[in-house]
Amino acid sequence: MSTFLTRAYFFLIGLFLAMPIIVVAGVSVNEKQSLTFPPQGFSISWYGQIFMDEEWRDALIASLTLAILSAALAVLIALPLAWFLWRRIAPWANIFQLLGVAPFTLPPVITALGLLTFWATTGFYGQPWTAVISHAIFFVTLPLVTLSLGFTSIDRSLVEAAATMGADDGKVFRTVVLPLIRPYLVSGYAFAFVLSLNEYIVAYMTVGFTVQTLPIKIFNALRYGYTPTMASVTILFVLIAATVFGLVARFGDLPKLLGAMPANDK
């Protein structure tokens, strides 16, 4: 395709993806509490509101806590599983791989409803920690996929050399395997973290009535009309996501993480 047409096409897709964000960025700096674009006046006070207003600040803290903990738990579940599947020949254990991928593949409302009935039946409904477990299960797919990819990229002769020189499983893991898969570990955590931060339905169905995460807070605020803080929080989230994925790309191999193998690696 000619360069001009290609450029035009990329520009249009880019515009489509960026347009809502540009408009929200515009309304977030309105001076008055009104939904107008182009913005009238300029003020960044709505960004201050995220940290000054008690409700928004609490929601931000709740979201960050949830994302930090649940992503960590997701990695803790995924790491031993991915290691086992790489180290051992146990075809039946693949069922756990399937279970790890299922919550992410099914429509999210299903996982959310399953967890809601479960927490309600066991009597823990509404406890903040149930959201951590729920998110960890919901997002375990991400570290599981990146770690499985990481393990397949390990040169087995390195591991064999270590074993021949007398290192046991634990020592091989600490000294050879862990350093090699660290980029995949970090990116798996990063993916789970960002998605947990943005997740609505699972959080809403498990702890929606006791804890307000930011997405829940935005949705509740949206039903009562417009406040400019929604716009500034949106832009904050876009920045967080772009920064995290930018860092993953800076320190890791993003095309490879997303499944692209080098062209000569067929």
Partner: protein
């Protein structure tokens, strides 16, 4: 250290924690949900253990048929729009330099990770009367006065395509990166124009990928639960919205669970179809 079958019981040790977590917090909740779908509903939001098909019997109604039909139609439309927009884009993306590719991938991931709440809010702003795109058209002299564009079917569709397009591109990306570039080169040498080479060589070579992607995006779109609420009217509500509504606002857990089980069956049927298509592709 080669891969070997576990020899001692201790070799299974690392599996214990993941297995327990996945069984207790995914398999059991899933089972609980299936069980609840057969329970009897009591007044006031409670339900008692039972084995009745009442909740499933409620499916046989005009209202439910309409919602199901609309959900499937919407998801199929979204899937087709995304694949049609996504294939040329992804194809061209894989032909770009590495730096540009990484930049686009970061942007796509950032949009993909955005909460449905945020996407809904952003598009409702863009479709609003006071801050929306119609203002731009007024400035350009293409319209008389600004008007709201949502709630409407077009708004729901646009929002959902926005949400699903990055997902589509990221599914297509690995398949297109691995596509043999000599295929198109051969077509070009034989005199085909770039556009013709794309449609006669690239698209047929990707037939199975395209079908699998359509199905995956279809499932993804089926899961959208907030955009139809924020950008649409009640007649634009999908099965996912209805499930949430029954579970949370109507406190009818058994009926919500029955609908969720039904949605799982539809999804699993679709996944089965994907696997079948994949098998056929390998055999061919």
């Amino acid at each position: 250290m080669r891969r070997e079958p576990p020899q001692r019981l201790a070799d299974y040790g690392p599996l214990a924690f993941p297995a327990v977590m996945l069984v207790v917090f995914f398999v059991i909740p899933f089972g609980t949900m299936i069980a609840v779908s057969f329970f009897k509903r009591q007044q006031g939001g409670f339900y008692t253990p039972d084995f009745v098909f009442d909740n499933y019997a409620r499916f046989i109604s005009l209202f439910f048929g309409k919602v199901l039909g609309f959900s499937l139609m919407l998801a199929i439309t979204v899937a087709i729009c995304c694949v049609v927009l996504g294939i040329p884009f992804t194809y061209l993306l894989t032909r770009m330099g590495r730096k540009a590719q990484v930049l686009w991938l970061v942007a796509l991931l950032s949009v993909l990770s955005l909460s449905e709440v945020i996407i809904g809010f952003a598009w409702s702003t863009l479709f609003s009367r006071t801050a929306g795109i119609t203002n731009l058209l007024v400035i350009l002299g293409l319209m008389q006065e600004a008007m709201p564009l949502s709630p409407s079917f077009g708004a729901v569709l646009t929002g959902m395509v926005y949400q699903a397009l990055p997902y589509t591109i990221l599914i297509l990306y690995p398949a297109l990166v691995r596509l043999d570039p000599t295929l198109t080169e051969a077509a070009r040498t034989l005199g085909a124009s770039p556009v013709k080479a794309f449609f006669t060589v690239v698209v047929p070579a990707l037939r199975n990928t395209v079908i699998a992607t359509l199905i995956m995006v279809f499932i993804f779109a089926l899961g959208s639960y907030l955009l139809p609420q924020i950008l649409g009217r009640p007649q634009h509500w999908t099965l996912s919205v209805l499930i949430t509504d029954q579970a949370v606002y109507q406190s009818n857990m058994p009926f919500a669970a029955a609908m969720a089980v039904f949605l799982v069956l539809v999804t699993l049927g679709m996944v089965g179809l994907t696997v079948l298509v994949g098998r056929k592709g390998e055999a061919a």
